[in-house]
Amino acid sequence: MEPIVVYSLVLSAVLFTMGMLAVLVRRNPIIMFMGIELMLNAANLAFIAFSRHLDKLDGQVIALIFMAVAAAEVAIGLAIIVSIYRYRRDVDVDAVNSLRG
């Protein structure tokens, strides 16, 4: 495999992990969203790396579709955050725990 592909795969792994870290650690939902975006991008990177490696367009098409998905997701996510925000002024994920067992 070409070094460029290998390196980008490694990079994608690291980025994905940092994205997850952001999601798990941070309490501000917006940051969590950014973490998710980052994870998505890492995945895109991996796809494109493989597309390059296998010389097929499939990887890129999927990456493209992922972007659309990501956009949709962000729209909904932020709308929820806005409604939470309007309801209780500050936005702290841990405060919103009324839906528990």
Partner: protein, 183 residues
């Protein structure tokens, strides 16, 4: 893979990593947004290196252009700047376990790559140069989208429509009666 590409790649990778770290660590949401934008630019460059010009452009246009702007828009409008949320972690165990999980994740991924023989495989002989350009050219991608991948393409449009509707419904201002009913 010649030396220039390597240097560019390393620079971009470094930028990406810094962006990601900055996004995670920074206390001010605006800063983390900007860090993320930097990260996306670095990724765009790497996409170019991986000969995916269309996606690199889209990455810049869609991700940084649309999504990050939306983020910033939300941040500016709804969250007073300078509002430092206390670093007090409400879930003491959460960070510790997350750390463990992250380590496990990274080790699994890397091990997977290693076991998959990624590092040892020999050079992939470059087929004809021309094939690469026309392989990843916008025309090829466009025709692929409308031939083999027509169904996913249409479904994505449907998805976007749904998302739009959802966002509008969720974020609209309540009418007067909703507010009375709420408080």
């Amino acid at each position: 893979m010649n030396v220039i590409e390597l240097i560019v790649f390393i620079a971009a990778a470094a930028l990406a990593l810094i962006g990601a770290a900055g996004m995670v660590m920074s206390r001010n949401p605006v800063h983390s947004a900007l860090f993320l934008i930097a990260n996306f630019f670095a990724l765009a460059v790497i996409f170019l290196l991986l000969s995916a010009p269309v996606l690199a452009a889209l990455q810049v246009l869609v991700y940084t252009g649309a999504i990050m702007v939306l983020f910033l828009f939300i941040i500016f409008f709804f969250i007073q700047p300078g509002q430092k949320h206390a670093y007090v972690y409400s879930l003491p165990w959460q960070t510790f376990f997350s750390g463990i999980l992250v380590i496990v994740l990274i080790s699994v991924l890397v091990l997977g790559l290693y076991m998959g023989g990624v590092f040892t495989a020999e050079e992939h002989v470059q087929s004809a140069a021309m094939k690469v350009e026309e392989l990843t050219s916008p025309q090829a991608l466009g025709s692929a989208l409308f031939s083999r991948y027509l169904l996913p393409f249409e479904l994505t449009s449907l998805l976007l429509l749904a998302a739009m509707l959802g966002a509008v419904v969720l974020a609209r201002k309540e009418k007067r009666d909703d507010r009375e009913e709420k408080n």
